[in-house]
Amino acid sequence: MNEIFAKIVSLTMLSVFMQNAIFDRAFGANVAIYASRKESHVIGFTFGITAMTTLASAVSYFFDKLVMPLTNGNLYMPLIYVGIIGVLYIAGLLILWKFFHKLFRKVKQYASLAVFNCTVIGALFLNSNYGSDLASYIGYGFGTGIGFFLACFMLNIAHERLDSEKIPRIFRGYPIMLIYIGIVSLAFNVLVGYTADF
């Protein structure tokens, strides 16, 4: 039991700090920039993405074990992952619609953006590289969601200053956000002393 918990924690730490979805891989950077504009969006998107990456990672573990060993099995993985995400997406919306109708009306316009993005599907692809068992898949998936929260939070607290009059007009908004993410990404690389080899 302790070993499983340690595995979940270590993979979570790996995906939050060393391989942060936004700062290290740029997965869903556009969604993070969008979500960071409002605090309520940060919480909502984080909850949606974390739930999806964790659940989808757990389900994808079984499909990875089944399909990856096949010849050209990796060709079918995007289709399988889209299927997993799609089933969870519709199931989640049905549950919200049936039991939490008010919440459903609030989140339905953002749900697709929180689910069908590079952060969620990227976590599944990386899991097939780094995950060895169910615990590590869940840990990595959960950590990806928490890493997304960390990135969104850091963008949110900088948002007001980066959108101020002090920033040259052509840099305001999207360009300065990218530059800011780049600087934080550099800081993360230095902090962990690690460089992703692409």
């Binding site: 969008y34 995007p78 997406y89 919306l93 599907i121 990218l178 990404s185 692409f198």
Partner: protein, 203 residues
């Protein structure tokens, strides 16, 4: 007799460029476009997956609810990934798995999932075909520009041919990609003379 209007705008090249202005497809360019060859892989795969999916998904009936329709778009793109991956393996046998990861991610890109609903599928088919193609050209121009700049700075080569000593080896890092694309986005904004509409950005 009523004349049919066929108007095509070049918005996708600059004013609504999907990398520099609306930020719909940024991750592959920021992280994976570190050389001309990698940029070529991204452009070919983007064309084969996203563009063809847009053309095919047009036939999905609009009366299907958006919740299901968006899922079908992603499924079509995931099916298109199979011939694309085989084609990339033939054309670029030395392509690394790091770049292929970003090719796989194209099955859920916002260009296909969002831009179709807000722009392409509101136009007649012929007009849409050309309009979407202009957006792909806009993506290709930025991907190659980023690829050339980073290859020169990081490796001192262009298309593999030695040019000079590497000036900024860190140019192949993701953080450099963010900063470079951010600066290019500002320049693009300066040239086009206005900020992108707020709802367009970050969707």
């Amino acid at each position: 007799m009523k004349k049919s209007k066929f108007s095509v705008s070049a918005d996708g090249l600059l004013r609504q460029n999907i990398v520099l202005m609306s930020g719909l497809v940024t991750a592959p360019v920021i992280v994976a476009a570190t050389s001309v060859e990698r940029a070529a892989v991204l452009v070919v795969s983007f064309f084969l997956i996203s563009y063809t999916s847009i053309l095919l998904c047009r036939f999905i009936p609009r009366k299907i609810v958006y919740t299901v329709r968006i899922l079908l778009y992603a499924v079509v793109a995931a099916v298109m990934y199979i011939p694309t991956a085989l084609c990339i393996a033939k054309l670029f046998p030395n392509v690394s798995s790091g770049v292929m990861l970003y090719v796989e991610l194209l099955v859920v890109n916002s260009f296909l999932l969002a831009k179709t609903e807000t722009r392409f599928y509101l136009k007649p088919y012929g007009e849409m075909v050309l309009d979407a193609f202009i957006y792909v050209i806009g993506y290709a121009v930025v991907a190659f520009l980023v690829g050339v700049l980073r290859e020169v700075l990081a490796y001192g080569t262009v298309c593999g041919f030695h040019l000079c000593e590497p000036v900024v080896p860190a140019a192949k890092s993701p953080f450099f990609g963010f900063i470079l694309v951010g600066i290019m986005a500002a320049v693009c904004r300066g040239i086009s003379g206005k900020r992108a509409p707020r709802k367009e950005r970050g969707v």
